[in-house]
């Protein structure tokens, strides 16, 4: 399994480019996606399924927002902070978005160093990514606390439609859970990288399978997905 992503068959004939190549791959035996390992294929398919979950959440929220007869609170006002006497709309969300997108950058670098088998740099960059993620969740906790102090509840809020609070807590909560799970796995995998598990092909505790550096990339797929989802939440919930 370890090498599946990297091996190519002995002298296989060159495959045609474009659609013909895809058709050739799909009509061949053994694998529909050539040079894609099981783990990577599984993560992509999981992300597709997860996309449907977030789409359903966002569509439900949009339906609620469009059909409610009570005015919807103005997100620019609700998510404004006063810093140094200045009233800045959406400043916290802007910082959170910046942090999360930066974490995608460090994740991409970690994947790069992972394939170079640079143990230390990979682990450090993954930990930096995890730190960014944890900061994001922390700021989200701050945001939740602030709103709860102002009287926002899942079932009511001082400014208008009750669905504002319901959707806000549900969607950001579900996304925050994704980020938190990502942080936990980032730390776990960074530990394996640091310890050199993938160099000595140490076996996993639960699965007793050998690990390999591609796991860093699979982790990266998940992390970039979580970031991408945030962009949609940012656009549809905060900017609308």
């Amino acid at each position: 399994m370890a090498e599946t992503a990297l091996t190519t068959p002995g002298e296989s004939p060159a495959r045609a480019a474009g659609w013909q190549g895809i058709a050739a791959d799909w009509s061949s035996d053994q694998r529909a996606f050539k040079n894609v390992s099981w783990g990577k294929a599984m993560m992509w398919i999981f992300l597709l399924s997860d996309t449907f979950i977030f789409s359903c959440f966002l569509l439900s929220y949009m339906t609620a927002r469009m059909s409610t007869t009570v005015p919807w609170p103005n997100p620019s006002e609700v998510f404004a902070l006063s810093i140094g006497g200045k009233h800045i709309p959406l400043i916290l969300i802007a910082i959170m978005t910046f942090i999360l997108i930066s974490s995608s950058g460090t994740m991409a670098m970690a994947v790069n160093f992972g394939y170079r088998r640079d143990r230390v740099k990979t682990a450090i960059l993954m930990l930096v990514t995890a730190a960014f993620g944890a900061t994001f969740v922390g700021m989200q906790a701050f945001e939740w606390t602030k709103l709860i102090m102002e009287g926002v509840r899942p079932w009511e809020n001082p400014w208008g439609a009750a669905q504002f609070g319901s959707s806000f807590f549900m969607i950001t909560g579900f996304h925050g859970t994704h980020v938190t799970i990502g942080v936990i796995f980032l730390i776990a995998i960074a530990r394996k990288v640091w310890r050199g598990d993938f160099d000595v092909e140490r076996r996993g505790f639960f699965t007793s399978r050998k690990g390999y550096y591609e796991i860093v990339e699979i982790m990266g797929l998940y992390w970039h997905f979580v970031d991408l989802v945030w962009v949609f939440i940012f656009a549809f919930f905060y900017l609308w």
């Binding site: 399994m1 090498e3 599946t4 091996t7 190519t8 068959p9 002995g10 002298e11 296989s12 004939p13 799909w26 009509s27 061949s28 035996d29 053994q30 694998r31 529909a32 996606f33 050539k34 894609v36 390992s37 099981w38 783990g39 294929a41 599984m42 398919i45 999981f46 597709l48 399924s49 997860d50 449907f52 979950i53 789409s55 359903c56 959440f57 439900s60 339906t63 609620a64 059909s67 409610t68 007869t69 009570v70 899942p154 079932w155 439609a161 009750a162 669905q163 609070g165 319901s166 549900m170 579900f174 639960f206 699965t207 007793s208 399978r209 050998k210």
Partner: protein, 592 residues
């Protein structure tokens, strides 16, 4: 393996993927209980699903007792009747059929049929079962909590599902939603495994267009489930919040017992859309594995290649894709815009095309075949008949103007029981008779099997066919007691009593089947490795039942499609998928 040179004229290209090490169990616990072997997980799934399915079967008897002899059984009151209906529907559709087809048959057959040693991620596969078991336990626990299980109907429509008038409002609905969420999490772990195994872990020579249709059916259904269950997940989470936190996603402003409730501004129709975006694909998640399995049963027992294999594959894929754009045909009476009704009626009727292709191809496979009326074949034939019957009434209900007066009558009950109740169950039973020898090494008893088939098949017809008539009379579904009304003739009551008697008889026949399953395990005739003389890989394993890792030392190599039955000139009337062309040519002698 990798250094095998590529040879253009070889029958099968060299291996692209080195073999993966298997997880080997170290103790009795990891071999039989917390097992990572897909075959053991499949049996665990099947037993759990059957056990909870039996509960649902008993619930249906209780419902029939009440409907057939209203007022006779004092222990069934209106609330309990609604709870029985809800749990019967939910268990049968999700916890029995979905779990049995995908978790049971999928786990057992996919690795064997594609020539793999196991699922790609056995550990995740194991977790999938245990989360499923937890979901079943949570579901079953609702029978014992205060207030009992929810009585909201299996569709769980808000607002009534979480209002105090509905039984099970305290605990039942909460645990039901929690159980659904768990089921979806568990299923996702298994489903990802099935999809990746089919796509990425086939053996040498096994192209997608050489897969048995069983695998195509299960594979497509799993992909659909991975895309459809998210909608149910989201709907369950939101309703759970409505119930527990007092949010108003689905709850409009309501007055209950003269009191204005705290809800307001939510949309019950939104729930219906989410539910049926899951619910309609769910019908095909149950039907497509049945389509696939029945194709293999018919081909094997009629000793003839399946007619139009490519069309069968594309029909499965086409039905799967179309089923995502028809969901609102369940909502014609919800008051949606007539243009939507037009759109959804059109897409619904278009599904008849690929479905008809499949039915014609099954019949054409039978045409001039060497039909062996074995028990699996009888069930396969029974499936075709009930499915055509249920499918035709689907054409009625797919049309808006016909559906509106028939909506919420016994006609609908008859339709969906025929098409997605009886028909897939026929396939499940046929498949058990077909693959039981592979799982246990022993044949099921034939006489008991034929008895089981005829009582089940004729009984199912006698139960559900009269319901069409009751529905056309206007008798509503989900009513505890239809009472005396001018439009209901007294013969309808007699008919109801008749249906109940037949239903109980069919129920007893299932006990005969259970007895057969247990008895044959010890006393059945030894089957040998390939009792049906079938071509697909699972019958070619070195051991029966297949050992850990399925294939012994060498993985099989596939040289042909799965349907080489009665090939002219061949020594036997079947050629296994892993028989090299040279061996066949040697047997055939001069044949090219």
């Amino acid at each position: 393996m990798v250094d095998v040179p590529y040879d253009r004229i070889a029958d099968v290209p060299p291996a692209e993927v080195p073999e993966v090490e298997l997880y080997h169990p170290k103790s009795w616990w990891t071999q039989y209980v917390f097992s990572q072997d897909a075959k053991v997980i499949a049996i665990q799934y099947s037993l759990t699903a059957s056990a909870i399915g039996l509960v649902a079967l008993v619930l249906s008897w209780l419902m029939r007792l009440q409907l057939g002899f209203p007022g006779t059984f004092s222990f069934i009151d209106a609330n309990q009747y609604l709870q029985f209906i809800t749990m019967h529907g939910m268990i049968m559709v999700i916890y029995l059929l979905t779990a049995l087809f995908l978790g049971g048959f999928g786990n057992y057959l996919i690795p064997l049929m594609v020539g793999a040693r196991d699922m790609v991620f056995p550990y995740v596969n194991m977790l999938s079962y245990w989360v499923y078991l937890l979901a079943v336990v949570v579901l079953a626990s609702t029978f014992f909590v205060p207030g009992g299980p929810t009585g909201a109907g299996w569709t769980l429509y808000p607002p009534q599902a979480i209002l105090s008038g509905t039984p099970g409002q305290d605990w039942g609905i909460v645990l039901m939603l929690a159980s659904l969420i768990l089921f979806i999490i568990g299923f996702t772990m298994g489903g990802l495994n099935y999809v990746v195994t089919v796509l990425q872990a086939r053996t040498r020579g096994m192209t997608l267009m050489r897969l048995p249709l069983t695998v195509w059916g299960i594979f497509t259904a799993t992909v659909m489930a991975l895309l459809a269950f998210p909608a149910l997940f989201v709907a369950s989470v939101m309703m759970l919040f409505d119930r527990l936190l007092g949010t108003s996603f689905f709850m409009p402003a309501l007055v209950e017992m003269g009191q204005q409730m705290k809800y307001g501004g939510g949309s019950p129709i939104l729930f219906q859309h989410l539910f049926w975006f899951f619910g309609h694909p769910e019908v095909y998640i149950v039907a497509l594995p049945a389509f696939g399995i029945v194709s293999d049963l018919i081909s094997t027992h009629a000793r003839k290649n399946i007619f139009g294999y490519r069309m069968m594959v594309w029909a499965i894929v086409g039905i799967g894709a179309l089923s995502f754009v028809v969901w609102a045909h369940h909502m014609y009476v919800s008051g949606m815009h007539p243009h939507f009704g037009f759109f959804f009626a059109t897409t619904t009727l278009i599904i008849a095309i690929p479905t008809a292709i499949k039915v014609y191809n099954w019949v054409l496979t039978l045409w001039r075949g060497d039909i062996h009326l074995t028990v699996p074949m009888l069930f396969a034939l029974g499936f075709i008949i009930t499915f055509v019957n249920g499918g035709l009434t689907g054409l009625f209900l797919g049309n808006v103007v016909v559906d509106v007066p028939l909506s919420d009558t016994m006609f609908v009950v008859a339709h969906f029981h025929m098409v997605m109740g009886v028909a897939p169950i026929m396939v499940v039973l046929g498949a058990i008779y077909h693959w039981y020898p592979k799982v246990t090494g022993r044949m099921l008893n034939d006489v008991l099997g034929k008895f089981h088939f005829w009582v089940t098949f004729l009984g199912a017809y006698l139960i559900f066919f009269p319901m069409h008539y009751l529905g056309l009379l206007g008798i509503p579904r989900r009513y505890h007691d239809i009472g005396e009304a001018a439009f209901i003739p007294s013969s309808a009551h007699t008919l109801n009593a008749f249906i109940t008697v037949v239903a109980l008889t069919v129920g007893v026949a299932q006990m005969v089947f259970l007895f057969n399953l247990v008895w044959s395990l010890f006393k059945g005739r030894p089957s040998g490795g390939n009792p049906w003389r079938a071509t697909t890989l699972e019958w070619q394993t070195p051991e029966t039942p297949p050992g850990h890792g399925n294939w012994g030392k060498e993985l099989p190599v596939v040289y042909r499609w799965a349907y080489d039955y009665s090939v002219p000139g061949a020594a036997q009337d079947f050629i296994p998928q892993n028989q090299p062309p040279k061996a066949t040519r040697a047997v055939q002698g001069a044949a090219p």
